[in-house]
């Protein structure tokens, strides 16, 4: 059994890993912002619902959330979903889970902004949207980049949980080969893959951080 075989097998799983990673970020980052607005809403009901949502997402295992999302259509609506739903369920569960974490990160950033920035905008006549998009959000983004990096790196590793719904990503493949060939090697190689992937993610985010160092 060759390293080449292991690599090509893991490589295919790795594509799924990357896909889960990208899709999750793509949807959970904006959704997180919406949830954080809900969490900071002046309307009690919206605030409470958002709080409850975040509490559930952070308070239960992601593995369980994956299972719940996958079986919900059947148990709640009696719908029979095809096997292609497995991947969709993985993405939906990841997005819902990560949006909750991102929401709290956004909230921390937004609430840390000095009130003077809002007041300056108001006196200058900016609309609320102009204030948020041009003045507040860019500064918030700079402030929250370190915790955002943390969460993103955790996401890379969390993608391995997709095995729960039999979505074959890299870790699943590694385990399968390891079991059939009775060797630790594929798992070790998978570890290297994760590490290198995370290294690239971390370096990329560090570059963004540095590019924002033109102001304090």
């Amino acid at each position: 059994m060759s390293i080449y075989f292991i690599l090509t097998q893991l490589g295919q799983g790795f594509l799924t890993t990357i896909l889960i990673f990208i899709l999750t970020l793509l949807f959970s980052l904006p959704l997180g912002l919406v949830v954080s607005f809900g969490r900071m809403s002046k309307i009690f009901l919206i605030r409470t619902i958002s709080k409850f949502y975040i509490s559930i997402m952070r308070g239960t295992p992601l593995m369980l959330q994956l299972i719940v999302v996958f079986f919900a259509p059947y148990y709640v609506f009696g719908l029979q979903m095809g096997s292609s739903f497995r991947f969709t369920a993985v993405i939906v569960a990841f997005v819902l889970n990560y949006a909750a974490y991102f929401a709290e990160i956004y909230r921390g950033g937004i609430e840390s902004m000095p009130v003077g920035q809002y007041e300056a905008c108001k006196v200058l006549g900016f609309s609320k949207a102009q204030t948020f998009i041009r003045i507040i959000l860019p500064q918030v983004f700079k402030r929250i980049l370190p915790p955002l990096t943390n969460e993103t790196i955790t996401l890379v590793k969390d993608t391995s949980l997709a095995f729960v719904l039999s979505v074959v990503e890299m870790f699943t493949t590694a385990k399968q080969i390891a079991a059939s060939e009775t060797t630790m090697l594929p798992l070790m190689i998978a570890g290297v893959f994760y590490y290198v992937f995370n290294l690239i993610v971390a370096l990329g985010l560090e570059r963004i951080e540095n590019s924002l160092n033109y102001y304090r």
Partner: protein
């Protein structure tokens, strides 16, 4: 012509009545200073006048147009959003701690509002900004970021930012309180120049000498009411024991 008129302004925070009925007006070209001890309500007047806070009772008018009008019971009713947006264009505010936008260059700090709010072209906004920077002695700072500037320079940028919208009235909320004496003098010099150009200004300040030299009228406020109002001369030669004591404490002979 009256640029600003406040009638019987009242404002409470919880049970604390901060303003107990303030009435004042500012004519075109006039410099009005508001002095008084900390917690007397000076800044609250400014915050209510600039609509950062809403007053509970009273009238607020700019150029004889109501921004807020008291009802029969006294409660202030504010005008519609569109009206307030238009009325807001009459004034600018310079904050104690500048509140510049740290992620924008000096130039962009100044041009952003004229472009977004007044809808003038970028080129025109930049010309306007550059001439303001020249005037305020910051000609070479247009590409700098706020953190690269001294406090005095930052405050001058924030004055330029307010002036770029060409307001009819400029409010200053303790514009030098965050600055050391040297930086204070460079900011005061700029404000003096504006006064010489007959810019209408309302200044909350602890700089007694400055207020004395500059103001057409001074208001001494304590406990949420105007205790003494008069010309600079009248204020500094007052018989009012409390005002005398207050001015004396600030090192004015």
């Amino acid at each position: 012509m009256k640029i600003l008129e406040i009638k019987n302004m009242k404002k409470s925070f919880g049970n604390l009545e901060v303003l107990k009925g303030i009435s004042l007006s500012v004519n075109e070209g006039e410099v009005l200073s508001i002095i008084g001890p900390s917690g007397s309500g000076k800044s609250t007047i400014l915050r209510c006048a600039t609509m950062l806070d809403h007053m509970d009772e009273g009238d607020l008018l700019y150029l004889d147009e109501y921004a807020a009008k008291s009802t029969q019971g006294g409660k202030s009713i504010y005008s519609s959003k569109q009206d307030l947006k238009r009325i807001r264009k009459n004034f600018g505010l310079v904050f104690q701690n500048f509140n510049l936008f740290p992620h924008y260059s000096v130039l962009k700090n100044i041009t952003e509002a004229p472009i977004l709010v007044d809808g003038i072209s970028k080129k025109e906004a930049e010309l306007r900004a550059q001439s303001l920077l020249d005037k305020l002695g910051l000609a070479d700072k247009s590409d700098a970021f706020p953190y690269q500037l001294s406090g005095g320079q930052q405050q001058r940028v924030s004055i330029a930012r307010a002036l770029a919208l060409q307001p009819k009235l400029l409010f200053f909320d303790e514009p030098t309180s965050a600055l050391d004496p040297e930086l204070t003098s460079e900011v005061l010099k700029v404000i003096k120049e504006l006064a010489e150009e007959k810019m209408t200004m309302v200044i909350v300040t602890h700089e007694m000498q400055f207020a004395k030299e500059l103001s057409d009228r001074i208001i001494f406020i304590e406990d949420g009411i105007i205790q003494v109002e008069g010309s600079s001369k009248e204020i500094f030669n007052t018989d009012n024991a409390r005002l005398k004591e207050f001015i004396g404490k600030f090192g004015h002979k």
